[in-house]
Each structure stands twice: as C-alpha cells, then as structure tokens.
C-alpha cells in the first residue's frame, strides 16, 4: 500500500508524494487504522530514474511517470554516475520516510523499502523498446546497462537499510516471463538480482523481497536460489499450481488478491478470496496474504479492512 495510505487519511496523492514526512505519517496512520503487519517506505516508482536525470511528469491525483528516459543506447554505460541517495533528486525523501517509520514503529511492524530491479530500471533508463532491442542486438552492452542499474539500486537500497528499513523489496516487473525469455532472466537478470540480495543481506537486512508482476510462475520457484526470502505472485498466477511448483522451497510467498478488486468489488468478495488463499496455503505456511500488486489508491476502505479481518480471523485457533 502506497498512496492509498494518504487517501484513507484524507490527504491527497500530491501531499503524499511531496514529502517523506507526510508520507510516513500517512503510512503510520493507515497502519493504525487497518492493523496490518508491514508499512512501506515508498513514494512512487520513479525515484531512481528521476535521480539520474529522467524527465518525470506529475499529474493531479496520479503517480508520476517517466516522460523522457535519461539515456540512449549510444551512451557509455560504464561511465555513468551513481546517484548519491542522500542528495539526488527525491531519494532523500524516501530515506527520511524509512527513518521516520522505523522510529515510530520500531520492530512492531515490518518497514519495507523498495528499489527498482535491474531490468525494470534498465527499461526506465532507456525506454522499453530501446532497452529490449538493445538486449537482443547488443547483449554485451545491455549487460553493462544492467550492471549500472544494479549499482544504482544497490546504493539506494543500502541507504534505505541504513536509515531504518527492515527489508528491501526489489520491484522487477520487467523481468516477468511475459516480457523477457526465461533464458534472458536466467543468464542476465538472475545473477544481478543475486548480487543485490547478497549486498542487502551483508548489510543486515532482515530479508529480501522479490516482486515480479504478471505470470511469474515459471520463475518463482527459482527466487530462493537467487537469495530472495519473499516472492510476490500476481492475481494471474494460480495459487494451487504455484503451491505444487514450490515443492520443498522455503520461499515465503505473498499474494494474490486481484488489485482492482479493492476498487470494484465488495468486502464479501475480498473475504471470500482471502479465505480461499489462506485455505490453499494453510498446510504449507510461508504465506503472506496480500494484494497481487499494489492496493490502488482509490481502493474502498472496507475492502482493505476485509482483507486484514480475514487474515486475523484465520489466525484464531478452531474452537
């Protein structure tokens, strides 16, 4: 949950995005209101690309988006500067947010920070089409771009851990098998995700969380070997099939209520879906009930409450 934490507290998305302090207050208040288990030191998904000069477009009531990528395929990716999270763009606001959340909540709630995954940031740095064509046409230079993106995300993630985050969520939707072939994930993206998770672990992160939206079932069982402790699965992944595919893996998984259901459906629908998921994973454990992706800002408050209620009720021992 990102900007929904603002909406539910009578604040605007703009207020949430403009200040790490305000965003932290919104997260704290939403946590108190709903009673879930984790807060997110997250503003939006353009922090890294904005910090290296990408043109970011802001519009009322919406998350900012990348209007113009900062680099071109002709750039020398081995010579690009790594932004300093304490001063570059809006990164300092996120550090402030992580620090405030940890100071306010201590270890009573998980403070989750977020960085872009190497592939997703590479796509933001060049634009989707140019990045994918570079991967196909000049794989060696694409690897240089991935290495640069990894270094940016690693530096940002370590700074968030240093200021209070418990875990780092690596947001990597562009690595989904719907976007890139499995071989490219295995050979190019996987090693860089491993490097990220290892760096976070060395710095004392409680864990690492890999979030790849879309049909991620073919790669999700590999997450643990990459060093991830939690893996998200989106609404389009069949939880029963995932359960079978996980086998003996110790990976904790989170998912997968359809995000738009929080906007369009009712509390009974959410509870029904939550119960179905809890039932499926009841024997395995290692499951976090959540939305398949972000809970949209315009979600109905009663729907979010229904999700939390379902989880808490499930924890009670049977009479």
């Amino acid at each position: 949950m990102f900007a929904h934490a603002a909406i539910v507290n009578g604040r605007s998305v703009e207020e949430y995005l403009s200040s790490g302090a305000v965003a932290a207050d919104c997260q704290i208040e939403a946590h108190a209101r709903y009673g879930y288990d984790a807060v997110f030191a997250v503003l939006d998904l353009t922090l890294e690309v904005g910090a290296v000069g990408g043109e970011i477009q802001s519009r009322p009531g919406l998350y900012p988006t990348v209007l113009r990528a900062p680099y071109s395929p002709d750039d020398d990716f081995t010579r690009l500067p790594i932004p300093d999270p304490t001063s570059a763009g809006r990164m300092p606001s996120v550090l402030e947010m992580a620090g405030r959340l940890r100071a306010a909540l201590g270890d009573h709630a998980l403070v989750v920070s977020l960085v872009q995954g190497p592939m997703t940031l590479a796509v933001q740095l060049l634009g989707m089409e140019k990045a994918l064509y570079l991967a196909a046409d000049e794989p060696d230079r694409f690897l240089q771009l991935l290495d640069y993106a990894t270094a940016v995300s690693k530096t940002f993630g370590l700074a968030q851990l240093a200021t209070g985050a418990h875990v780092v969520l690596v947001f990597e939707p562009a690595a989904c098998p719907e976007v890139v072939p499995l071989g490219l994930f295995r050979e190019m993206i996987g090693p860089r995700l491993s490097a990220l998770f290892a760096a976070f672990k060395r710095t004392g992160a409680m864990g690492s969380w890999l979030h790849i939206a879309g049909r991620c079932a073919p790669i999700l069982p590999r997450y643990a070997a990459l060093g991830a402790h939690i893996g998200n699965f989106d609404y389009c992944v069949d939880p029963q099939e995932l359960l079978s595919a996980l086998g003996e893996s110790r990976l904790c998984v989170d998912g997968n209520v359809k995000p738009l259901s929080f906007v369009t459906d009712g509390p009974a629908d959410i509870e029904r879906e939550a119960h179905r998921l809890l039932q499926i994973f009841d024997g395995r454990g290692g499951f976090i009930l959540s939305s398949g992706c972000e809970i949209p800002p315009e979600s109905r408050e009663a729907n979010v409450a229904a999700l939390v209620r379902a989880a808490k009720a499930w924890k009670r021992p049977a009479p």
Partner: protein, 215 residues
Amino acid sequence: MPSDLDSLVQALTEGERERSQGIVADLVGGGVSPFEIITGGVERAMAALDKKCTAEQFNLLEIMLAGRAVMAVIRQLFPEDAALPSPRASVVVAVLQGDIHDIGKAILKILLAGNRFRVIDCGRDTPVARVVAAVADSGSAAVCVSGLISSVIPQVQGLKPALARAGMGHVHVLAGGAALKQCAAATLNVDYVGQTAFDAVAYLSSAVESCHPEH
C-alpha cells in the same frame, strides 16, 4: 526444401529483420507480388505468433523483435501506410487521458498492421473527444484502448457513450492492458476485453469477417 515464403515466415517469427528483408527482395525480384508476400508470408507469421501466444509461450521481447521485422518488411513493400493492399478495416488505437504507458498500444499496432488493418494512432494521454473525432474522420470500425493504470477506467467507460452521441454507436470498442484486463467488458462499458493484443486482433478479425465476409 521450404519455399521462399516459408523461409520468410520463419525469419519473421524468429525476429530476423535483415534476413526477412533479404528474402522479400528476392521474392519481389522473382515476380511475387507484394500482396502475395503479405498474405502468404506476413499474415502467416502473425498467425504463428498468435498460436505461440495461445500456448502461453508469449514474451514481449520476441514479439517486439518479430514485430520490428514485420514492420520493416511492410515498409519495404509499401513505403506509404496508405498503400497497404486491401485493408480489412480501419482501427483507431489510443491510450486515454490520464495514462501515458503505450507499450501495449505499440504492440497492438504492429499486430494490426501485420494482419492488414489500417491503424490510426491517436497517441497517449488522449482525450475521448479526440478519439471520437478520429473515428469519424477515418470511418473506423473499431477503437482499441490500452490502459496500465486503474485511474483511466472512467475515461474508458465514457468512450462508448461518446461514440453513440456522435452517431457511431455501432463502432466496436476494445480494451486491454495491465489494468483494464482485470475488468469485465460490462464494467468498462466496452464490447470486448482482451488479455493479450492477439485477443484483440482475433476479435477484430471475427467482427470484420461477419460484416464483410468477402474479406
């Protein structure tokens, strides 16, 4: 020994742009008409990709590489879009106001062009009124809108009524993209919601066939 058209289908589906263009040059030099190359090569390649998508082996990179090869061949054969042979129908594509993510639209454009649809691209962050005007100007049979973020849904819901008010209630409205494909067609007030761009092409092909069986 595969025919040259079979070789073209293979080169296109493998995303081999330069090899595809070389085969096309040989075909044209050997007297094969551009129309035959489109129907016997490009459209067959599109059908092969569609089959691959149906088998859940779809990934964007492979589709983009194939699409790049297809567009290179189409430009090689028909330097002007208007010269496309016997377009099956005109289709307006757009990302509506409030959303600027247009990779889905880009993919759809390629698939539509490869299947002999004339495409009118209204761009991204586009007001509904501009889409309605484009449909009127082009006489399009359908509008395809792609949306990555849920906040664009009200715009999508307003598209069909806006077309009806302009006397174009018969125009098919299709939706797709990460946010929109989570909704039912009735929720979005559209005729069809595609899980992939191939779904949209299949729906349009069927709709066009039922209106113009001679195609």
